[in-house]
């Protein structure tokens, strides 16, 4: 196969091909939402790397895999082998990116919500779909299962973390005081009658008291997600600002849809969401989310 005279690099990025420094060599980016990878797929990826690439794989900071060192003329063959085995190809450029997440409540003892499941649902709905294409710039989304925020929701264009509001059932409390010790926010104080009192102004809804309570006197009042918008890294880092609390899993998908619509309508070409929010205003974004 002979090389075409010109290579449309911009078009190739939509196919997950990333030009390497060495002439005519590319890295192939894979679509591995929430960093969850089937072990059989990993074997296929390994074979493709040995057959077409240079035997090296790069683990990206967004839980992805890139197969490095593929010569241009082998790109289509590599892609065909991967897709035949069910391994999907990722993308770069100004569009909704592969969603990241922590393992979430099914795996992690700290997890409050099924962040991985939510990440997969968001990926299915927006990735490569009209709502997530033709954006001003890249658009990154992540889901964290709890307030530890391991996948860094405040650094994403839209990020979520789990929340749980505790409620005391005094009849079940034996006054042991474990919750007072456990609460890192100093929001729980044991009163003279050996009952804990919660200061709602200090409580951040992490749920540590619920998990630590030996008698299950602290119970779940409600579970949901906090949402942040406009975060980014790069040369001018900025943390996302909170746009909602105790959002249901279904509504979280609508929050993403609403923010994407706002970004398409208001964003200028080449500008990240945080810059758009800075220009148009956070209140205006909030007004157009969840309506």
């Amino acid at each position: 196969m002979t090389l075409p005279k010109t290579i449309d690099l911009a078009a190739m990025k939509t196919g997950g091909f990333i030009k390497q420094k060495e002439k005519d060599f590319f890295a192939l980016r894979l679509r591995t939402p929430v960093g969850k990878i089937d072990a059989d797929h990993l074997e296929v990826i390994s074979k493709v790397s040995r057959k077409y690439g240079d035997g090296n794989l790069h683990l990206t900071v967004r839980q992805g895999i890139e197969i490095q060192g593929i010569p241009f003329e082998q790109l289509q063959n590599a892609r065909d082998d991967l897709e035949a085995a069910g391994v999907r190809i990722g993308a770069c450029g100004p569009r909704f990116r592969v969603v990241t997440a922590c393992p979430g409540a099914d795996i992690c003892p700290n997890g409050l919500v099924d962040s991985a499941g939510l990440g997969l649902a968001a990926d299915e709905r927006f990735y490569g779909q009209p709502e997530g294409l033709e954006l001003p710039h890249k658009f990154k989304v992540t889901f964290a299962g709890c307030l530890a925020c391991c996948p860094k929701p405040q650094e994403n264009d839209v990020g979520f973390h789990g929340l749980v509001e505790p409620e005391l059932f005094a009849d079940d409390c034996n006054g042991c005081g474990v919750c007072e010790v456990t609460c890192k926010e100093g929001a729980i104080v044991m009163e003279d009658d050996d009952l804990p009192i919660k200061d709602d102004a200090k409580c951040i809804d992490c749920g540590d008291c619920i998990k630590s309570c030996p008698t299950d006197a602290w119970k779940v009042k409600r579970v949901g997600l906090a949402a942040y918008a406009g975060g980014r890294w790069g040369r001018h880092p900025e943390l996302g600002q909170k746009i909602g609390e105790f959002i249901s899993p279904d509504d979280a998908m609508e929050v993403i849809a609403d923010v994407l619509r706002f970004y398409k309508e208001e964003g200028k070409r080449g500008e990240r969401l945080g810059v758009t929010i800075g220009r148009v205003g956070l209140d205006e974004l909030k007004r157009r989310v969840g309506k």
Binding site: C176, V181, T182, D208, S212, P214
Partner: protein, 79 residues
């Protein structure tokens, strides 16, 4: 309520997470179902984490109380 007498005890003062929980778990495995184990835990991470882990293992925490020197005494009933 009559005071429950512990069948065995573990002094976990100065033992870090998660070794304190692992030691508790191993001790409980040697004991009979329904018997009681008393453990002495440090303030901070140990008292925040060990009761939670013991609870998740299905055992019952009968009592937690402050002991002298800023430590905690926890009584566990083996499941």
């Amino acid at each position: 309520m009559t005071e429950i007498k512990a069948d065995d005890s573990l002094d976990l003062r100065g033992v870090l997470c998660p070794i304190n929980f692992v030691k508790t778990k191993l001790k409980l495995e040697e004991m009979d179902a329904g018997s009681h184990l008393e453990v002495l835990l440090d303030d901070g991470d140990p008292i925040a984490n060990v009761p939670q882990s013991v609870k998740e293992e299905g055992h019952q925490i009968m009592k937690v109380g402050k002991a002298d020197g800023g430590h905690y005494r926890m009584l566990i009933k083996k499941a």
